[in-house]
Structure formats: C-alpha cells, structure tokens
Amino acid sequence: MGIIETKQLTKYYGKARGIVSVDLDIQEGEIFGFIGPNGAGKSTTIRLLLSLIKPTSGSSTIFGLDCQKDYRKIHEEIGYLPSEVFYYDNMKVKDLLSYSASFYRKDCRAKIIELAKRMDLDLNKKIDDLSYGNKKKVGIVQGLLHSPKLIILDEPTGGLDPLMQQTFFDILKEENERGATVLFSSHILSEVQKLCDRVAIIKEGKIIRIDTMSSLKESLYLKVMLETPQILPDSFRNSNMNNYKVVDGQVSFLYNGNINELLHQLSQLNLTRISMSEPDLEEIFMHYYEKE
C-alpha cells in the first residue's frame, strides 16, 4: 500500500480551479518530487493531504487512513514545513519547539538539540529577532523534531543559503534512509533533480506526468543541436521532435523516439556542426509547459 494515495482528488475554490482529478501514489521510502509553476496546484494538493482544506470531490489516504476523517492519527507521523513560516509573538525558539513537541507522545529533546546544532540555530533567541532564513530553520526543526514517517515540504528552501540548503538536503536524505517518505514540492527543478527519486509534474491543476527521475532524464529525451548550410526539407521535421527551433541556420530540438532513425535521417544531411546531449530537467519541464 502506498504511503500517500489520492483518487480523482479535486478542489475548487468557489469557481476558481485548485486541482482537478489528481491521482498520486507515493510509496514508502520514496523521495517524491512535485513540480510545477506557482499556482499550478502544488500547495492545494498538500493542503488537502493535511486536511487544512476539504476536497470538492475525490479522496485521499495517508498510511491507508482517510485524510479528512482520520487526520488526527495521520498527523502523529507527519512533519510539515510550509513555504512561509510564521510563529507566535514573543516566544523564544526553544519555547516554540517544546510547545510543538508537546503535541507528540515522544521525547523530542535530543532531536531538537541535534537538529539545531546542525542547522546552526540559537535556541535561546526570540523568534521575532530572527532573520527570514533563521526562521526557516526553526520551521525545519519544528517539522522534523518528532522523527515523522512522512515529511511534507512545500517549497521549503526559500531563504536558506546554499550551504544551509545542502545541510538541509543531507538531513532529509538521512531521514529518508531512516525510513521516512518525503514529499517535496518545488518550482526549482535543480533541487528536485538533486533529491528526488520520482516526480510528478503538475500544470493548471492537473498532473501531466509522473515518472522516475532517471527515465525522465535519460531514456526519453535527447537534446539535439545542428548547423547546416542547406535548407532543411519540411519532411525532416517529425512528431518526435519537440521544442523545434531554427535560429540563424542553427536547428535545435528535443528528440524522443528511436535514435537509429534519427541518425539515419541525419546522415542524409550536409552538416557543419552537431551536438547531442542529455537535457536537464529544466528543458524537459519547459517542453511540457510549451506543448500547449
């Protein structure tokens, strides 16, 4: 059974679209990436999973329990880090963290101290006096202090410097090795690329693709760039070529199809330059977004 399963999950805010018929199946131990631009529905999906909002239709389960009915039980084992963290007025970091810990039936003190040390966070400071990045660290510790089985992160890296981001990713990977499943939403593809095993791409409220990181990157796409003095015949271009562009006699496209056919086709041409490379996720992603 999947850790997170959603079936035809749909949310409308009045008439405004949130998400439409989202089907997800996230397995135990995965680091699952969730990518899409702002407003695509990433946060809506996460907020539905956390029972912060109620679905218009469809269902979702976490640990096999209904997200809306059994949320109290589910939350025991969830750590959540929102994209923007806010805390109560006039509280010290350690007070906030022990208040947070008091909701779980575990002794979290050792973990708080360990995480704070690694993130270089001063527990005795007042939260109001912290910088944005340091507040984010409080959020990270707050989300992980009870060693949850499922970690849900909604665009979590904003405000963290690159070094701290690396530490944060290391911590996430360790939590994952410990057995935690991670759902990581982001619009920054390089982050997802670094961390995730599988990704779902969401666009205008709909999941347009779910695949493993490796198959997204390797098996399907080839970035081709070529230069030729001749004018390419219309028959050259076919449906396997996406993002087809001609700029100053330089032709570039993303190819997904039989490579031998492509090579055969290319051998008929008079080429002055050619390069073929594996595209990064960004380019694949752009391709999905430009298609329509």
Partner: protein, 265 residues
C-alpha cells in the same frame, strides 16, 4: 492540555491588568460612597431637577442610588463596560490567535482534532473569566461592607456579580465565534472595542427610546441590576435568552471551525 496551558500563559499578563483595573475601580468608587451618602438629601434635590431621560441613560435611580448596594450597582455599569471589553478581547484574541499570528497551519497540522483545539481555547477563556469574576465579587463584598454600617443583602450582591459574569460569557462566546469566522484579523483591540462600544451605544439608546425589542440585542440590558436587587431574581426570559445566545454562538463557532478551510496566508 498543552493548548489550554499555552493560552493561560499567553493571557496571564493582560488578565492581571484587567483584574487590577476592575477591582481598583470598584474599590475607589465605593470609597466615595460615604461622601455621597452624607450629602444625599442635597443631591436628591439637585437630581430631581434633571430630566428623567438623562438619569435613565446614565443608569441612575434616585430611590436606590443612596443605599450602598444601589450605589454599587451604579458603579457596576462602568465595570460591566470594562468586563465586556475584557471578555471580548480575551475570547477574540484566544480563538483568533492563529489567525492573527498566521500560525493556523502550525496548530492544525498537529495530531489534535480541531474540536479539541477550540475546546481547549474556550476552556482557557472560561477559567480566566471565572478567576476575574471571583476577584471582582470578593472585592465588591469587601468594599460594600466596608463603606456601610447598614445591613445589605449578600444574595443580591452576589446575583448582581453573577449577572456581570453572564454578560462576559455572552461577549466571550461572541468573541470566539468571530475569532474563528473572520478571514483576517490584524489586531484584536480595535475590533473588540468597536463591537463592545457599539453594543454600549445600543444600550444607551434603549434608555432613551424605551423600545422593548432593542433589549434583545443589547447584552448590557439583559440583566437590570436594580430589579435584580429589588427582586433577588433574574428576568427569566433574558436569562434563557442569554444562555441560548451563548450556547448558540459556541455551537456555530465550533461547527464552523471544524469544517472550515484553513487558507494560505
């Protein structure tokens, strides 16, 4: 239990200040009673020349005013205003704490039901109001007995104090309801004071125009202190009406809070 403790702790400073303010007001007003009492005949003459509408709006009843307990119930009109403000600010600030500080996500993603969250907050509000009213009642008992040698009805005094408590509960229930239904809450004090003063104005209008139906919308008029002192009983219609209001607003508040979408900030 942790939310309950957290809310008590968060409200402790303001509660102490409110209790001190109200108890000191009762005490110092009552200390002025002997002077009034000594000059009562002269004052009665002066007051009889005032238009009766004005006296009514001010909450003064000449016949009862010059007994210690009558004077006390006059003082209580101002205490009630303070008490209503306290109850409203406390309840709105407590049930709307996450809304104001944008921490709803923090609390609602914890392994605790929304019902329990609001129940813990409401209990904290109730406990603080009970403590507040005990303090006011004890201060009042002491102050009234200190300024008069004549016997007075302790029952009547306790009932008047109880009516202040009920008034606070009405405003507290209203505050809890508003705290969970508002979409935005920048700061608690202006909203609370606005609402309480609004009802206070309604109260003054009732004194002038004498329209009966206004009384149902004016919590300050639910419990007429002079009639409580005279009859040693509450107006049963308004006693029931206030309980209906309190329970009704709480039910709506709880149901709404359990079902509502917590929106992104």
């Amino acid at each position: 239990m942790n939310i309950f403790r957290f809310e008590l702790k968060s409200n402790i400073k303001s509660t102490i200040i409110w209790i001190l303010a109200m108890c000191l007001t009762v005490y110092f007003f009552m200390m002025a009673f002997p002077a009034y009492s000594d000059n009562s005949q002269g004052i009665i003459k002066v007051l009889k020349n005032y238009p009766p509408e004005l006296l009514k709006a001010l909450g003064m009843d000449i016949n009862q005013f010059f007994s210690a307990i009558g004077f006390y119930s006059f003082v209580l009109i101002y205490i009630e205003l303070l008490a209503a403000m306290q109850a409203m600010m406390l309840a709105l600030g407590t049930s709307g704490r996450e809304l104001r500080t944008r921490t709803s996500e923090f609390l609602v993603t914890k392994p605790i039901s929304r019902w329990t969250i609001l129940a813990a907050k409401s209990s904290a509000v109730l406990v603080i109001l009970v403590i507040t009213n005990l303090s006011i009642t004890l201060t009042s008992l002491y102050a009234v007995s200190a300024v008069t040698k004549e016997p007075f009805s302790v029952t009547a005094l306790l009932m008047v104090c109880l009516s202040t408590f009920l008034l606070q509960l009405v405003f507290a229930a209203m505050g809890i309801l508003l705290g969970v239904t508002f979409r935005k809450l920048r700061s608690v004090a202006p909203v609370s004071l606005g609402i309480v003063f609004g009802f206070y104005v309604v109260n003054m209008l009732k004194g002038i125009f004498d329209d009966k139906w206004i009384r149902y919308f004016s919590p300050f008029q639910f419990f007429e202190k002079y009639s409580i002192i005279a009859t040693k009983s509450f107006d049963s219609v308004f006693l029931i009406w206030s309980v209906v209001l309190i329970v009704g607003m709480l039910i709506v508040g709880f149901v709404y809070y359990v079902k509502k979408d917590i929106h992104a900030v």
